[in-house]
């Protein structure tokens, strides 16, 4: 089997004048925990739905484990488990039967389907609700259930579209544990989320998408390193005006009540030189606090830059 779980080239999809996917090139490695970040309308769900056949692409190619999602749709879909953002569950049957049916659609015989359904419900912690219909589950249980349905076919690629949207902290952590365990066992995870912290905490790499395009792909730490940190420096005798600091990486210096606030790329590398320069100028440093750039700030900057670029290009 190919080492790539997902590979898209020049993937395009438009809805009338709206370009939902605009030549997307993306690769996700086998076994990777991959995050997809982007503002609303960035094309994340369209991309996911293209992989599972709910959206027909206009052009380009998309492959799952080397199988084209249209020409080899059966092989591609057999390897995917999808937990969508919107609930799309069969309301006619108790949830255990819904899982048995889903396993059957994947060609799993009835005995094995029942065993897997039980295992999936136990994994997400709602086994005692097995005879209940989906509509009667609480919001959190519904989220657990769609994850169970994605797991029941034992997929090689688990796609989670906003899996923790609107759930409480405890459930979020429970879901993270389950997803992490799946990934440790070798399942490739594709996660879209609005919670930057979630991507920071879970993902090996994240892609930032905007307007149907890939803006950036990197490890969360790598992306954060590209952001600017803030160094709060407490001085024994704060100056009235900002001093000139000729230190590499410093981009901005502002006076605060206690001293200075310095904006710099790579705060921890910049701090020693900064202290030396301040002492050379006769200041006494009494405290120093480095606030790292968050992925959220980097995300906002990247998507803003992309939009400004698009506007200028237009």
């Amino acid at each position: 089997m190919t080492e790539l779980a997902i590979r898209t080239r020049e993937l395009r999809k438009n809805y009338g004048d709206v370009q939902a996917l605009d030549g997307l090139d993306l690769t996700v490695d086998r076994g990777e925990f991959f995050g997809l970040l982007g503002p609303n309308g960035a094309g994340k769900t369209t991309f996911i739905n293209t992989l599972v056949g709910l959206v027909k692409k206009n052009s380009g190619t998309a492959e799952v484990f080397g199988y084209d999602v249209e020409d080899d749709y059966r092989e591609a879909r057999d390897r995917i488990g999808l937990a969508p953002q919107e609930f799309n569950v069969d309301r006619f049957f108790p949830i255990i039967e819904v899982l048995e049916h889903k396993a059957g659609y994947h060609g799993i015989g009835s005995e094995e389907a029942s065993r897997r359904a039980e295992e999936a419900l136990k994994t997400v912690g709602i086994w005692e609700k097995r005879d209940t219909r989906f509509d009667w589950l609480s919001g959190g249980m519904k989220r657990r259930f769609v994850l169970a349905r994605a797991l029941v076919s034992n997929p090689d690629l688990l796609i989670l579209d906003e899996p923790t949207a609107g759930v409480d902290v405890q459930l979020r952590h429970d879901l993270w544990d389950i997803i992490n365990r799946m990934n440790d066992e070798g399942t490739t995870i594709l996660l879209t989320t609005h919670y930057i912290e979630e991507a920071e905490r879970l993902c090996d790499r994240v892609a930032i998408m905007d307007s149907g395009r890939k803006v950036e792909v990197a490890a969360p730490d790598e992306l954060m390193a590209r952001g600017t940190d803030t160094i709060d420096i407490g001085l024994a005798d704060p100056p009235r005006t900002a001093p000139r600091l000729d230190v590499e990486g410093v981009s901005e210096v502002a006076v605060t009540d206690d001293g200075l606030s310095v904006t710099a790329a790579g705060g921890s590398q910049t701090a020693p030189g900064l202290m030396r320069e301040l002492e050379r100028q006769g200041h006494t440093v009494i405290s120093l606090d480095i606030r790292r750039a968050s992925l959220e700030e980097v995300f906002v900057n990247l998507t803003r830059d992309d939009r400004e670029f698009a506007e200028v290009s237009a």
């Binding site: 709910l54 959206v55 749709y73 059966r74 049957f93 076919s153």
Partner: protein
């Protein structure tokens, strides 16, 4: 069982369970409606009409009522299950699975045809309460019932994919199918019509279905049953091919 068979059997089972577990919605209405038909048209009016084509009026209308129930329910089953699945998005569980388009279409049509046949048997059961039910040509009866329910299961798939609201289902069933069946010689013989209207009636495909089932039950028909069977089989093949094409293209299913 191989993978394809398991996938197909799972979807058929799911479809059958859906209608079997809701008898008040699926099987009770045709039982009540047909009891009323038999009571009013058969017993009250039928006694004044006398015999048609050598059988009692009740026995004459029974095949037409069987066709009416069979096509209504097979069409309704397929159109409802597809449309409702689209409306609530749960059909996506099937669409995102590795099932082939052919398996999906065959499963939806087969389950719908089965429901039409079960309804037919229930109507025959109701008929037995009021009169004896002859079966003059059992092979023709089975063949016509199979082809009619398959055809309308296939048409129901198209309807379910085309519908964008519940109103569409009502329009198709009540305003198109039902009038065609009522003017399809269910309650009267074509011979009682003036020549012009008799010829116009022959343009109605339901006439061939009603006459085919009538031939199977009472051995009387105004149209050659073999020709009807060939034409209906041809139409069914075309409809199933359209179903498959629509699924392949994702019509009503994929954006």
């Amino acid at each position: 069982m191989n993978t394809n068979t398991i996938q197909f059997a799972t979807l058929v089972r799911r479809e059958i369970l859906r209608f079997v577990r809701r008898p008040y919605n699926t099987f009770l209405p045709p039982i009540i409606t047909n009891t009323l038909y038999f009571a009013v048209f058969g017993v009250i009016l039928g006694n004044r009409i006398g015999e048609i084509a050598g059988v009692s009026y009740l026995q004459f209308v029974l095949p037409g009522l069987v066709v009416l129930g069979a096509i209504s329910d097979s069409f309704e089953n397929a159109s409802f299950t597809i449309f409702h699945g689209r409306w609530n998005d749960y059909i996506q569980a099937v669409l995102t699975s590795p099932m082939s388009n052919r398996s999906m279409v065959t499963a939806y049509v087969s389950a719908s045809a089965l429901r039409g046949i079960v309804t037919s048997l229930l109507i025959v059961g109701v008929g037995l309460v009021f009169t004896s039910v002859p079966v003059a040509n059992p092979l023709y009866l089975v063949a016509f019932l199979l082809i009619i329910t398959t055809l309308f299961g296939g048409l129901g798939v198209i309807g379910g994919l085309w519908a964008s609201d519940f109103d569409y289902l009502t329009v198709m069933n009540q305003f198109i199918l039902r009038p065609l069946v009522f003017f399809g010689a269910v309650f009267y013989s074509l011979d009682v019509l003036p020549p012009l209207w008799r010829n116009v009636s022959l343009l109605n495909p339901m006439v061939y279905m009603v006459n085919g089932v009538r031939y199977g039950m009472i051995g009387v028909t105004e149209i050659d049953p073999n020709t009807s069977l060939v034409v209906l089989t041809g139409v069914t093949v075309v409809v199933l091919a359209i179903d498959l094409l629509l699924f392949k293209r994702g019509y009503g299913l994929a954006e």
